[in-house]
Symmetry: C2
């Protein structure tokens, strides 16, 4: 069984790379599907689950800004509960025994024992800004500066979320097998380069 | 003209990867050759040139530990002079117009305008230790702990040397096109994976 995990900076094209890689290699693909599954298992709204799981910062606001201790702990428990459910869903994917690609969600840490190929995808600030501009019509009102700040904030969240489950730092070269910078690449072309690399990685002696 | 620069952690196998990559791709290869050229141009001993260029730390020792001001500045000037000569030699390599691979020496920064493919090579601590053990008979007397400390010290030097000419941090994912972790790879096999990636990189639209 071959597992590839794709971690990525927001706006780097990592998700597109993961999806295309799954198509080229004939692997199952998981990204949003994980959120859908968690929502179903917990009987919660998908958007709510997604928000809870991608925003760490909210829970770090000092207690005094919250309504009450009980609300604070209730929310903390929801968050922890969802993280546990997410882990279960990801472990279940690995149990199918089918080759797969999982984008985000710290699957590289959760599936460590399954020897996944862990890829991190990054890009320079200008490319990420451009990709976000092309994609997100609901962010049209943001200035470039605001958009750049949003990108950094999302990545900071991802980094913090990772700290909840591991000391292995998000985006640090020691924690991945391959770090790909998408700057200057067409993701479609890049996919073939990474697919070849991945194929050789799984075949290595 | 295609240029590949290879920066690497000490003991990661980056040099071997660079050499093999040059063989597979049919590129010229530069590493020690640069030192030889500098030594010839400056009329200095090769070993001395190499030591001067790879040990930044010596010159950061506070003045009070040195014999005199004049000795301090004389040595600083030698160091700066050698760095300038190194830059010239690397620029001359690029002027030949021949496809080449340059290992180390911050060639990625020096040749920035030539659009090189910049690769960084890393590995986990255990693999680096093992590779150093297999290679360096003159370090046989070192304990594992001492050897690990030596590896870290050399990388710290490389990082510091880089700071002399750029703000772009050594080993930071933003400053390379590809970061390859050699842990678990046979470098010979890895070479083909990286060669394919490089070929596609130079062909990208």
């Amino acid at each position: 069984m071959k597992i590839i995990t794709v971690s990525r900076e927001f706006g780097s094209g990592g998700r597109e790379l993961g999806k295309r890689l799954a198509d080229v290699l004939g692997f199952d693909y998981y990204d949003r599907e994980i959120i859908t599954e968690i929502a179903q298992n917990c009987g919660l709204n998908e958007t709510y689950v997604e928000q809870e799981l991608s925003h760490f910062a909210w829970h770090t606001i000092p207690l005094t800004f919250k309504h009450s201790f009980s609300a604070y702990f209730a929310l903390q428990n929801v968050h922890t509960g969802l993280l546990l459910e997410q882990r279960k869903v990801i472990e279940k994917i690995a149990e199918t025994g089918r080759d797969c690609i999982i984008v985000g969600r710290n699957a590289d840490v959760i599936l460590r024992d399954k020897n996944p190929l862990n890829i991190f995808v990054c890009a320079d600030a200008a490319s990420k800004l451009q990709r976000c501009r092309e994609r997100a019509s609901h962010d049209e009102h943001l200035t470039d500066k605001q958009m750049a700040r949003k990108i950094r904030a999302i990545d900071k969240n991802r980094s913090k979320l990772r700290e909840l489950i591991t000391d292995a730092k998000w985006g640090d070269r020691q924690n991945y097998h391959l770090i790909v910078n998408t700057t200057g690449w067409n993701i479609k072309q890049l996919t073939f380069a990474v697919a070849e690399y991945a194929t050789r990685w799984f075949e290595r002696g």
